[in-house]
């Protein structure tokens, strides 16, 4: 077996394993953080402080029957969870966990990630359409409109970083943050990116597509067992991707206080920053009510896009001058 192929297989296994592990860590974090925000102990039963709860939950979900609703398009209904899961795994291939911890180094890794995360919306469209359920369809419409709108300010804020670094390579962007993190010179872009990221990953207060008090569960209303857990995994994988891009673009990626074996141990700083941002996401979710759908759109088109455009223009002018 050629070593390159072996390396790819190991990498693929590691990536999928990490996606599952990440979902478990985040699931645990979400439940524990929300519990402490709400002043209750949260998970305590399975294992010390409930750390094994998510494993038990996973087993339960695997054991559950996948109910296919009557009148649904059976092929699409079964396809949607896979379609949602697969593109969420792919960005992990190009994420720079440390200087030398990157499975594939591409010049256009940023574009690759953005392309992959956008595919998720098609999976939601398929899931909502195939379910033959009005609530699912509602969630789908909202989700598509939301994802398409919020991609614009997100890309505009990313572009203002690209103007500074003139590279789409994630390692290149990290290398450009040699003396300072870009959050210092692009605070507005960071805020816009983070808000759009919340909307992109369908997190509260922008969790329109799955607003359970209105739409029961939105696009995954009809899914049970592993069908549901694939969407769940995809959501957490997406959250991780969005936060890693924020880390790479604005927070210096794997840079931090130098540790021994710096080429590999940078993963410590990378994870610390990513999970820090993820903590903020969870924090926001458990504090705010949900916005209304028209308010969500107004916010995007009337505030985020103009501000990100202005930011981009100012950046362009300054880059030209300097």
């Amino acid at each position: 077996m050629p070593p390159e192929l072996l390396r790819m297989i190991i990498a693929a296994v590691l990536v999928v394993a990490f996606v599952f592990l990440n979902a478990m860590i985040l699931g645990y974090m979400e439940r524990k953080v929300s519990a402490h925000i709400q002043r209750r102990p949260g998970l305590m039963e399975v294992g010390p402080h409930g750390v094994l709860q998510l494993i038990v939950d996973g087993l339960k979900l695997i054991g559950k029957q996948l109910v296919v609703p009557e009148g649904s398009n059976k092929f699409l209904f079964r396809l949607a969870p896979v379609l949602s899961f697969a593109p969420c795994v792919l960005p992990f291939v190009v994420l720079p966990f440390a200087r030398k911890l990157q499975i594939v180094s591409m010049d256009i890794s940023l574009i690759f990630i953005l392309a992959m995360t956008s595919i998720n919306v098609i999976a939601i469209l398929v899931a909502g359409w195939a379910s033959n359920n009005k609530y699912s369809l509602f969630g789908t419409f909202r989700s598509v409109a939301q994802a398409v709108s919020y991609e614009i300010p997100m890309l505009l804020s990313i572009l203002s970083i690209i103007l500074i670094t003139s590279t789409f390579s994630l390692q290149g962007i990290i290398a450009a943050q040699k003396y300072y993190w870009f959050i210092l010179i692009q605070p507005l872009a960071f805020i816009i990116y983070f808000i759009s990221g919340l909307a992109e990953t369908n997190r509260a207060p922008f969790d329109m597509p799955e607003a359970e008090s209105e739409l029961t569960a939105g696009f995954h209303t009809e899914y049970s067992g592993m069908g549901f857990s694939f969407f769940f995994l995809a959501e957490y994988a997406n959250m991780f991707t969005v936060c890693s891009i924020a880390t790479v673009l604005f927070l210096g990626g794997w840079k931090g206080i130098p540790l021994p074996l710096g080429d590999y141990t940078g993963i410590f700083w990378f994870m610390l920053k990513v999970y820090g941002l993820l903590f903020v996401m969870i924090w926001v979710r458990w504090t705010y009510p949900r916005v209304r759908f028209d308010q969500l759109m107004t916010f995007c088109w009337k505030y985020l896009i103009p501000f990100s455009l202005a930011n981009l223009l100012i950046t362009a002018v300054l880059v030209k001058l300097i």
């Binding site: 925000i37 709400q38 509602f138 504090t287 009510p289 209304r292």
Partner: protein, 384 residues
Amino acid sequence: MENLAENRTAYTDLEPATDIPNENHYYLNMGPQHPSTHGVLRVLLEMDGEYVVDPQPVLGYGHRMQEKMAEHKNWMAFMPNTGRMDYAAALPYNHGYVALFERLCGIEVPARAEYIRVITSELNRIVSHHLWIGAMLLDMGAFTPILYTFDDREQVLDILEDVTGSRLTYCYFRVGGVCKDIDDKFVEKTRAFIKRQRERFDIYNKLVTGNIIFIKRTEGVGVISPDMARRYGVTGPVLRGSGIAYDVRKNEPYSVYPNFDFEIPVGRNGDSYDRYMVRLLEIEQSLRIIEQALDQLPEGSFLGKAPKKMKMPTGDCSFSVEAARGELTYYLVSGGGDIPYRLKIRVPSYSNLSVLPELCQGMLLSDLVAAMGSMDLVIPEIDR
């Protein structure tokens, strides 16, 4: 009569394809098992995209024939049923029922018993408002407030459990008084709760009242004008939110309410935000009433003299109390004996729900959920 029957089939035995007036509209069935109808209410929504064209509540999924039951048993045996209509605030239901018979049979109630009734009823009102704040925020997608209000709610439920023996469906009042006296421990714990609750308002305000998303979601949403409120017979905090200061405790005082100094909070715009504020301020007013009642609490008997087996005089009688959701009226027709001929229960949630079709026309689905949440509907009370 025929017309009525036709109307009913129009939205219960629905043939979606045939009777939609506009081909761009479609029906969305919200409930009876929907997370934000808080019970088995079904609302049939005629929708145009995300906009609600015509919401029609469909009732009867939780109907237990409470009024019919009252016609078939000894009137005292019906007493526990009164606690099972409005499960969130059962004591005012107890209160109205026993007060009805006290008025009908002319039974004196000791002053201490009346004070105990007022204190426990007001505690129950606070509990109900706690539940409501949490549930409404839940409807709007905020999960955390309900756990904070439930924290406070637990404190009161513990206090009420000590004296009434139950936590939710009370059967505590008796004709002529209450079934168990309150003790020093109760007074002490209640005073501690009042102090605690006043400090907690700060948290509520930080978490909810001042929250920009909450304000944007509730201000100007679900506006009930005073005229509309009168037309539909809306009562309680929903009516007061529309700026009409009607409260049975003030307008038609019963029990020992005239002895206390308290205000009726009213709103200005009649929107969801005003209804929220009215309820929040009502908690404070209830605390004031409890505080004064504890200070004035007279000594003496807690259960007056009432015959064990009591015959009702013939005639009719009605009694209104201010339940947590508004005016609750019991109307009784007696043909003598100990079984009522007819007991009519006029519940506040029913008239509050009746405003929904007009209120929510042309609203977004999310607003309908928030507006319905702001009405504080308790479904077992509607389907009693």
